[in-house]
């Protein structure tokens, strides 16, 4: 499966978005064979087992959390939100790339998106699932999470609509719903392909149900294209809205370091940054493992590096503006926040953030770096870490020293903070492995379209 062919090498040279020499049949064969093979690769078993072990760690952590209460974490007064909300924002950020790639790039007619959108959408869904856990888990009384929903309570009590947490509920749940729909609709023609190619009855039945009667008629295709475009248009504002509203959790408060108007665009840029970094982080190993060099070409990687670089610079601008306004506002408390980031007890995290999020990604300016996939992967990994640190810096460092020095404190995550975090990574990876095994990770029909286009251009 990992064999390379001369076509892929040519693709690497020409920066094509699909390796040459592919026909409809070869594309379908290549992608569906990953799913329809009867011999699951050993590496898959190894990866899934490790991921599943971490998922079980999550189950244990959550069970203990429900038994003992959130005091098993390191949070305290003044740091009421710690690694839990850091992880929430981090996962939500990662969950941005999918919809961005699918919807916005679709509307902009960026054809190169085709080979990465399915995968990025799946990643979005899994990341949002991980993120969605935290707002519930971080509650003191998680059993009452539904009180945040506007359901017709017999007591006549509604949620408090002025609270950004309330907005979060709508933003995140809408985003999750639309992303899932978008993903599913995009999968329907491929489900039909898999149904038709399935050799086992089980496969035929399951893929058949999921294909929802798709026969590939012209009418189907017409309706399908309309629906997909509409969904893309619907999803587009969500890309901006989700992280904007997540940033309101902080921007609406009075806490220095949180109370900042720059947060919405800065968070959205950060989310795109984080999302693309995560797509690269996972795509590069998969490309190698499943021999997808023809579909995910160096041009894709180059484009993603460009996005990474651009969004990273917006984020850097955000950091710069925070420092500037702390000085320019003349606000004593804001100035303290920045000085505390520079020199305080958590300063090493701030400088690590600057290194991983701003300094290291600048390597992507160089085309030789962009062609060295190992270095690209390391840069993407650095951004993943940096974006986690960014949320830690914003949330914890702002909270631990706010207005009254008498109430200042320190925050140290406990074992259970980390086990929950790594547990959600386990959840994410487990879902990812299942996705790789049972669903086409690259859109087959869109790749066929692409091959068609490329052929047209060639002739």
């Amino acid at each position: 499966m990992t064999q390379t062919n001369p076509a892929s090498e040519r693709a690497a040279e020409t920066h094509d978005i699909v390796g040459s020499g592919h026909t409809f049949g070869s594309v379908t064969d290549k992608i569906s064979s990953i799913v329809q093979t009867t011999r699951t690769p050993k590496a898959w078993y190894v990866g899934f087992t490790i991921s599943f072990a971490f998922l079980m760690l999550l189950m244990v952590s959550v069970a203990w959390l429900f038994v003992r209460g959130i005091g098993i974490w390191g949070i305290n007064i003044p740091v009421g939100w710690g690694v839990d909300i850091v992880n929430f924002v981090w996962w939500i950020g990662i969950g941005h790339a999918g919809t961005l790639i699918s919807a916005i790039l679709l509307l902009m007619r960026q054809q190169w998106r085709t080979s990465i959108n399915r995968f990025a959408e799946a990643m979005t869904l899994f990341a949002v699932s991980c993120a969605g856990l935290y707002p519930i888990l971080h509650l003191g009384r998680p059993e009452y999470f539904y009180w945040l929903l506007p359901y017709p309570s017999t007591m006549g009590i509604w949620p408090q609509f002025r609270s950004p947490l309330m907005w979060d509920v709508f933003a995140v749940s809408t985003y999750a719903t639309v992303s899932a729909l978008f993903w599913f609709v995009g999968l329907i023609p491929d489900f039909a392909t898999l149904r038709d190619r399935a050799t086992s009855t089980t496969g035929q039945v399951i893929y058949g149900i999921l294909a929802m009667g798709w026969r590939g008629s012209a009418r189907h295709w017409r309706r399908y294209e309309q629906a997909y475009l509409l969904l893309a248009a619907l999803a587009t504002p969500l890309v901006v809205s989700v992280h904007t509203i997540v940033s309101f959790d902080f921007a609406v408060s009075v806490i220095p370091g949180w109370h900042t108007t720059i947060f919405p665009p800065y968070f959205v840029a950060g989310a795109i940054f984080a999302g693309f970094a995560m797509v690269l982080t996972i795509m590069l190993p998969l490309r190698a493992a499943y021999g997808l060099e023809d579909f995910v070409t160096l041009r894709h990687i180059r484009n993603m590096c460009y996005v990474l670089l651009a969004s990273g610079l917006i984020v850097a601008y955000g950091y710069l503006m925070e420092v500037f306004f702390a000085w320019y506002s003349g606000n004593h408390y804001e100035a303290h926040v920045i000085l505390n980031r520079f020199y305080g007890p958590y300063a090493w995290l701030y400088w690590a953030l600057i290194l991983t999020n701003i300094v290291i990604p600048q390597l992507l300016w160089f085309s030789r770096v962009r062609q060295n996939l190992l270095v690209v992967w390391l840069v993407a990994m650095s951004v993943n870490i940096g974006m986690w640190l960014e949320r830690f810096v914003i949330i914890v460092i702002s909270l631990h020293q706010d207005f009254l020095p008498s109430s200042w404190g320190m925050y140290t995550p406990t074992f259970w903070d980390w086990s929950t975090f790594f547990g959600t990574i386990g959840l994410f990876c487990s879902l990812l492995f299942l996705f790789l095994r049972f669903l086409p990770m690259i859109s087959i029909f869109e790749m066929r379209e692409l091959v068609h286009h490329v052929e047209d251009e060639a002739h």
């Binding site: 209460g69 005091g71 939100w81 009254l404 404190g409």
Partner: protein, 988 residues
Amino acid sequence: MTHPPKDARGAVRAALARKGGRELWRSLDELAGTPAFEQLLADEFPRQASEPMDAVSRRKFLGLMGASLALGGLSGCIKQPLETIVPYVRPPEQLVPGTPLFFATAATLGGYATGILVESHEGRPTKIEGNPDHPASLGAVDAFTQASILSLYDPDRSQVVTHDAQISTWDALLAELEAALAAAAQDKGARLRLLTGTVTSPTMARQLELFLARFPAARWHQYEPVNRDNSLAGARLAFGEPLSLLPRLDAADVILALDCDFLACGPGHIRATRDFAAKRQPVATGVPGNRLYALESSPSITGAKADHRLPLAPGRIAAFARHLARRLGIAAAGEPPALDEGEARWLDAIATDLTAQGRRGHTAILAGEQLPPAIHALVHAANEALGNFGSTLFAIPAVEHRPENQTESLRQLVTEMMSGTLDTVVVLGGNPVYDAPADLHFAEALSRVKRRFRFGLYEDETSAACQWHGPETHYLESWSDARAFDGTVSLVQPLIAPLYSGRSAHEVLAILGGQAGQSSHDLVKSHWKSQASPPDFEAWWQKALHDGLIRDSAPAQATPKSTLAKLDFPEDPGHGLELLFRADPTIYDGRFANNGWLQELPKPLTKLTWDNAALIAPATARKLGLASEDAVTIELDGRSVRAPVFIVPGHCEGALTLHLGYGRWQGGRSLAGAGFNAYALRSTAAPWNAGGARVGRTGERWELACTQLHQNMKGRDLVRVESPAQGNDHGHHAGGEGHHPSMYPPVPYPGYAWGMAIDLNSCVGCNSCVVACQSENNIPVVGKDQVIRGREMHWIRVDTYHEGPPENPRTYHQPVPCMHCENAPCEVVCPVGATSHSEEGLNDMAYNRCVGTKYCSNNCPYKVRRFNFLQYSDYETPSLKMLANPNVTVRSLGVMEKCTFCVQRINAGRIKAEKEDRRVTDGEIVSACQAACPAQAIVFGDVNDPASRVSRLKAQQRNYSLLEELNAKPRTTYLSTLLNPNPALTKG
């Protein structure tokens, strides 16, 4: 299994019919043994019945229950138990269910009484308030007294008699004690000794005399680890008799405190705080009415309140006192060691100030207990020279019964015990095995006594060293009487029947004195009946109980005349490192070590909880290469302890302060592992200050639970200080609310608008409010590890800030409860509306609605919200259930909580006023913190009423809001603190 009779049910029914319905429930037990009953069970529950009958399994229990229910139906429905139960047809007089009653009684500390009112809900005491009529209280109470209610319900209290650590009975103990007394009677008690603490109780004094009369050769020893040996000896030196000098600080314009923490320590400190704060109010010129100089070795809240504070080693303070006495013309001061330049400047300034025109009789010099007797004598003479006797200082004969040098008394006892000649020792109260000076080897001496009896509240270290331990009653469980610092007698009446099998000290003494069988009530009452009392004794008794004190029972004032012969001044021990032993500010001498409220109460200045530490000056720490939380070994005279270091700004150099009371090893769960035992270094020769200590580093760390890690205001305008000499210290004149623009119209508060004003000029940082709040609002204790994590639950905290050089900073206190902001940042961010505004301006918490997002706390600029990260409230311990205030919800895991302005008290007051069709009058509703405050620094009331006290305070120039620029419009505001510096000391 035998063959069943044909009709088992019929047989049982027949048996029951013979018994008759009324005996049904009692006869079940009897029936259970009959074959018929067993058969019935076998028929009904065949499997269960085949189980062996001896083990009471759950199944069997259920089987029995089922069978008894079935049987219950056999002869009619009898639902009421047979025992006499009393319906509430004729309730006790005055008792209305749901309405608390208040009873006057008195709490003692070190023998001295403070008059208190105890709130009682349907017969269970829940809260301690001060008795406004009592001279030692005037309505306020300190943290110790507040927290003593937790000791009442402490599940670790001694509950049974033990003999060699085995549970025994009072009968056995008394038989043994009677036998010992009978043996002692042979030689008139020559080998019988009694050890108690300080006794001021007139009844107990009489009982002691009876005991000594019965056993003329016996001896009564008294020992308190925190005693008044030095001041009594000083009074003997000066006046020839042990007089007590009572300060009236509301008459003192200038106060000089020589190592004297009169705001926190010693009998009468609550009254001293009240008088000091009253005099501290600004006079017309905006300057405080008094000026306080404090020379102290270890930082105290008195020093923090001083206009001028000088950290000096104890030996230097003594030298300073002698120089001052010489200035005042007292020859006995001798030739003191020379003062350095700075000290001399202070001496000049203070001497000039004390003797200034018009100051005669309006000053007071107060000497701390740690100073040697000769210095006390000099201070008496100095006060006399300044004309203070009769105006700011009043002398009365010592309040204690038979005042004696307690250290000497204990030493004599130990010498006798060591010689092995003693037959019987009775230890009543105290805990000498733990707290006796280390050089006496008390435990070893005690073990050489044949019969050792111990009566105490806890089964502690001393109990473990005695064969017999009898549980003593708590003061809220028994009758007694006691004298206050000024000699006023209070009757101590019980609020509740003894929870366990305890007996009072009076009942034990009655056995020793030959009055066995008399209850403490009878003993106390008969004592007072025997005193010259009015014709209608019953009415007099009722009134004394009602008032909580016996009027005019204070002794007549003496007119002291000092005659100083040549005084012996001890050598300055200031060689090497000095150790300063002090009573702990929260657990005192160790008697409160198992009291969670006091263990978790942040100590004034250091804000440490659950530990004592070796407090050290920054410069000394630097010299020794030590940092806070370093574990060190402290060695003195060949004895050593392992202790954590804690750096305290303003500590005198070359010394370590060690608080007593920690490092206990027996007597409860809360005290386990807390702190180190400073008594292990304390000797009879140097009980307070000991020179020649050595500190060795261990390289280990000792984690301390400190609730305030930053004591620097960072240039922020938090505590405002006004000083006439320098103008406003922060360049921001206090007063007047800033006007911030708002997009919204102002919210009208047509009814009441509750608000609070905290006068920082009055506040001394004594912590009384913190414990009062904890008691009133059912605030749980979380333990050391949770405090380290930053999860303490106090609704009001006392912030301490230092300003200036670390060797001698100015220190300010600021109590911070919830500010009840009108534009509360917490309210808008709660997604479920669990915290919202009341129409009277309270920021309310609906615990039931809270889901625990903690967003409100994050968004609170004052960080006054507290979260139940774990299940902190004790739902399990039965005795602690009785402690809870029934009007306040006991919070569960996962909800936010915070100061409510005592909303339960507001509601009670409003309901009362509405029933009487009137508005709530000013001062009718008092928050718990306000009630407890000895300095009357906290005032709560209706800010809609311009005549209310709180409105008048808020109208003052000094009024300001904390973090006013955030426009949260807090309803709690502060009045800036004032300084009255001496220009002679501020220059240069």
